[in-house]
Structures are given as structure tokens and as C-alpha cells.
Symmetry: C2
Subunit: 336 residues, 2 copies
């Protein structure tokens, strides 16, 4: 039932020094005699003193909140990224993670309005959200911002290498002996993000000397329903694929359902590969391409810390996904 904690002045009095000295001990402590530091530390200990971050934030130019903007954060990938960011946040640093969920244009506007002017902020991480036009001009430049999993010309950004991911998955299926490999994605346009997996898919086929067939590629939303529908279309071809690579786990789930409807055994009659490694994938034994979220979060935090330290940080090149082999692809390792 603490009425109110000790303040820096109380520590100074108890230690018999000035507040400036206590402050110096608190922050790095250079230029303080060892014996003096001891006295101060003892006083801090005795009073159970913790610096009040409010006062700190006011005097220092910097705030102490890390704002994470994230769209639809109930989606598994985003939750996983959030968790990774949470773990990458140094504890006891005074930094606190704040989250804004963005699910509509209004919310996006509000979120970036806050991001542009709130002085409590020390840094901003924008996940899969490209800052709106005019944001760069309106914002406080002393608060570093990094964009994750989205392109940006105005701001430093870290992305996943989806072309590589597309190649990785396709090569895996090729390696298992498949030559008729279907692809269900959301776009084939190499200039939009969602089309990059398709680019990788095509590259891998070409490199392996396997013909790319137009009828083996279908595009639709990242949803179970679309995966189901597109998979049925592929399976009903005169010469159906023996493996299907879906650009999202949700679509892959639909593919599994389509196989069941057509009486096909997975992976014996049809190999299925997903993308994202959402939680669900593990439950249904779906092999999938996993995005390196921890790495992403680590780089993001490193970027912020470097910026605070005044360094001119450069974000790394796109991060490469890895392959998670489970039952659905029939890899030798699990005897499917």
C-alpha cells in the first residue's frame, strides 16, 4: 500500500549528495568517484527507489514507448511477429511495448496520426503497413521508424524473401520427384508482394527444366474456400498435378479438403505444401514454408537501438524462409 515512491531527492539526501550525482549514477555513472557511487547505490537500495519514467521522458527528448502498428493482429502470422517483438524488447530498459491494431482505413489513419505526433514514443515498428502519404512530412523525425514485411521507399524496411520462399517450396517438391506441380496463390504479378511466391515457383521449375504450365497456376484469396475451389479445379484437369503448393496455409487447408472430397490420399496421391507455418499447420500435419519472424523482430529492435545510439542503421536484405516438413508432402523423413 505504498503511498508514493521515493524520489531522486530523497535518495540524494539519504546518500548525502546532490541530485545531479544520483542522476549520474543512475545513467551510466561516468565521472562519479567509486566511493560516492557506492553511497548512492546503497541509498537507492535502501529506499527501493525506481526512477520515474514520466519525469525522465519529459526532460530527455526521447519518449520510452515502442509503438507497434499491426493490421488484423488476430491473424496467426502477426501474433507470432508481435510475440517475437515482445521477446526482442530488452527488459528493464524502461521501454514498453504498445500495440495498435489496424483493421480499417480509419484505424490506420488514427494510428499513424498518433505515431506522427505523440511525444511518448521512442520508436515505431510498422508491421505490414506502409505509412500513408504525407506521413514522412508530418512526423517527428527524431523517432525512428522501421517497416516490417512491407515495402517502403521513404522508410527503412525489412521484408521476407518470398521469391526465395517460392523457390524453396517448389524445389522441395521437385526433389521428391514431382514434375506436375500445381500452384495456388493470390497473384502472379511480379510487381505486387503477393505475386512473388509465384515468381519463385516459376523460377524453380524453369531451373529444373520442368515446363511451366499455365493451367497449373490458379489465383484467389488467401482463404480456405478459395483453396478448396482452386484445388478442385486443378484436380479435375485431364492431367492433374501430383503436388500442390499453396501460397498460404489457409489455402493449403482447402487443398487438403479438396483431396478428401476427391478421395485422394495425402501425401500418397497428392502432396500438399503450405506457406506461413501458422499454428493450424501443425495441427493438421501440413508441411509448409516458414517465415523467420524471430529474426525479423531481432533486426527491427537492433535497428531501433542503433538509431537511438545515433548510428545510421541500414536494414538487412530480405530474410529467407525455411522449410518445415510434416506429413502432407510425403518427404522421406517421415515416411509419408
Amino acid at each position: 500500500m505504498k503511498e508514493r515512491g521515493a524520489r531522486i531527492g530523497d535518495v540524494a539526501v539519504l546518500a548525502g549528495v546532490g541530485v545531479g550525482t544520483v542522476s549520474r549514477v543512475l545513467n551510466g555513472g561516468t565521472g562519479v568517484r567509486a566511493s560516492t557511487r557506492q553511497k548512492v547505490l546503497r541509498a537507492i537500495q535502501e529506499l527501493g527507489y525506481h526512477a520515474d519514467e514520466r519525469g525522465r521522458a519529459l526532460r530527455a527528448k526521447r519518449g520510452n514507448l515502442i509503438l507497434v502498428l499491426v493490421p488484423f493482429f488476430t491473424r496467426n502470422l502477426y501474433v507470432e511477429i508481435l510475440r517475437a517483438i515482445d521477446r526482442a524488447t530488452p527488459p528493464d530498459s524502461g521501454y514498453i511495448l504498445t500495440v495498435m491494431n489496424v483493421e480499417s482505413p480509419q484505424e490506420k489513419e488514427r494510428a499513424f496520426a498518433l505515431a506522427s505526433s505523440d511525444t511518448r514514443l521512442a520508436g515505431i515498428i510498422s508491421v505490414s503497413l506502409t505509412p500513408p502519404d504525407g506521413f514522412a512530412a508530418a512526423r517527428r523525425t527524431d523517432v525512428p521508424l522501421i517497416v516490417l514485411d512491407a515495402p517502403s521507399e521513404e522508410f527503412p524496411a525489412i521484408e521476407f524473401d518470398h521469391v526465395y520462399g517460392g523457390r524453396l517450396g517448389t524445389n522441395h517438391l521437385l526433389g521428391l520427384g514431382h514434375r506436375r506441380i500445381g500452384f495456388i496463390g493470390r497473384s502472379q504479378d511480379p510487381f505486387v508482394r503477393s505475386g512473388l511466391r509465384a515468381v519463385g515457383y516459376r523460377q524453380a521449375l524453369v531451373e529444373a527444366g520442368v515446363a511451366w504450365r499455365e493451367e497449373y497456376v490458379r489465383v484467389g484469396e488467401y482463404s480456405r474456400e478459395h483453396g478448396l475451389r482452386d484445388a478442385l479445379a486443378l484436380l479435375d484437369l485431364p492431367e492433374p498435378p501430383t503436388a500442390i503448393f499453396a501460397a498460404s496455409d489457409l489455402q493449403a487447408i482447402g487443398v487438403l479438403e479438396a483431396a478428401r472430397l476427391r478421395g485422394l490420399e495425402v501425401p500418397d496421391d497428392l502432396a500438399v505444401l503450405g506457406y506461413n507455418d501458422m499454428e493450424l499447420a501443425e495441427y493438421v500435419g501440413l508441411s509448409t514454408v516458414r517465415l523467420p519472424r524471430d529474426e525479423l523482430a531481432r533486426y527491427a529492435m537492433e535497428f531501433l537501438e542503433a538509431s537511438w545510439a545515433g548510428a545510421l542503421a541500414r536494414p538487412p536484405s530480405p530474410l529467407r524462409p525455411t522449410l518445415i516438413v510434416r506429413r502432407s508432402c510425403g518427404a522421406a523423413s517421415d515416411g509419408g
Copy 2:
């Protein structure tokens, strides 16, 4: 590339009034002549002034951060609760949502240490986490705390009515004509939280005049594997149940898998009902008992707001779940 925003003094000068008057206009504005208020508002507008929350927090006793402590926030239920809290947070109120993910005893300790002393905090929402011993004594009493989805004697708490949830699900299956209803939960102990669903199940059976059978009840972890194993055990009984009520969706997924293994059609040969309504449930068409997360979040926020206003708020009684009918239970509504 804003160098630095306008301060309250700039507004005062432009409006030709004192800073005190600007402050009064900013906060409620009682006791300010209408014409004066207009001048001030115009100046605020012109300068694009936003009060600096750092200074505000320092002078007012209250912080402006709402801290949410949540265990394993990647789990769907918690994400959904977080989202509900996010939506229940009044925008433009200056309050920001901060999240701490707790996945280990160390993290819990650190989280509550922060919660007990950080002056930036305006309120604390502890989700499924009972504050540790000694916390009540150590914390700042002027920061309201509410516990969600966990019992607490020391602090106001809002819980879900799991007994009701157990009855609700069981009654639904009874209403569909089932008399041999299996239950797969995590505990039968009426004194632990995870056992309450089993209590409701038993109550509903008894009230309907249906015998409660020991062999129809199995307990294990909230996981797909345990659901699968326990479902197989039930289905291999001499007189197997025609419906299975699982105390978690994860276990229910396992039940669906068990049905498939035994060649049973769902819902015709076996009706399946889950609990929680996680995202996954929708994908697989699982009927389930849904916990009212939005309501929970709304009450939590109302509690905090009432506390800030100085009112002596009482949390409401346990919140009642609702039934979500999909394909897996064979309710008439979808002709299963």
C-alpha cells in the same frame, strides 16, 4: 519534418490569454467564457496543437498507459481478448494500450514488478493471471487493477461462467436427441477452474434425467493429441457415445480426427461440440461454445473508467457463453 510541436504557451500567446485558461479549455473547459473558449480553440486549431502527454502525466497523478498482462498471447482466446480490449479502449483519450506477454515465472514476476511501481500506468488488466502474493501490498493503490478470466480474492475479477457453458453445450446435444454423450475435459474437480465445464455437463444430464456415466468422462490436456486419444477410448467402448462434448476446441479437433480414423461420419454417426470458438473452429466447421470476449473487455474498460472517475465499481457476475452452431453437431439448422 516538424522540428517540434507548439507548446501550450504558444497557444496562450496566440490566443492572447494565459496558459491556465488554455489548460482549462483543454480539460473540460468549465469556468471559461464562451468567447474566450472560441479564441483558444481557434489558436489550437491554427497551430495544430496537441497536448504533450508526457507533461500531462507528470503533473497529474495518473499515468496514461493501460497495461495488459496476458499469458501465452499467441493462443487464440487471448488474442481475441486482446483485440476486444483494443477495441474497447476509447480512442483520442490519450490512453495507450501496452501489452506484456507472460510465458514463464520470471516473466510473470517482471510483469507484476512493473505493474506495481511504474508511474506511467493508469490502469492494469490482468488476463488469466492471478497477481502474486505480496503484490497487493507493494503496488500503488491509485492505479486500478482488474483481473479477467481468473479468480481473485484481493482484486475485482470478471470470469466466464464455465458451469453455464458446460450446461449450455450439454443441453444442446440433449436437445438434438442424444442420450449417450461423452465428455472430454481437463479436470472434473469442481474447485479448479478447468473442472467447471464438467460440473455443468453433469448438472445438465441430471436435470434431463439422463444417467451420468463415469466411463463417458475423460480428462487430459487441452491438446489435439489428448482429444484424439480420449476420443478413441470413448469410441471403442462397448456402448460408445453418439455425441462428444470437448472442453476445448483443440481436443474437439482431435475428436474429429478420431472419428475419421474409426470411419465415423460427423455429424451423422457422431456429433462433436467444442469449447472456446477459436479461429480454427470456423475452418473445420466445428460447433462450439463461445466465450463473450467483447463483453469481458467492455466491462473491464468500464471498470477502469469508473475507477478513474472515483466511483467504487463492482465487477459483474460471471459472463455467460453462447452457442455457435456449425456443421459438427448436426443441429437441424444446417441439416447435418
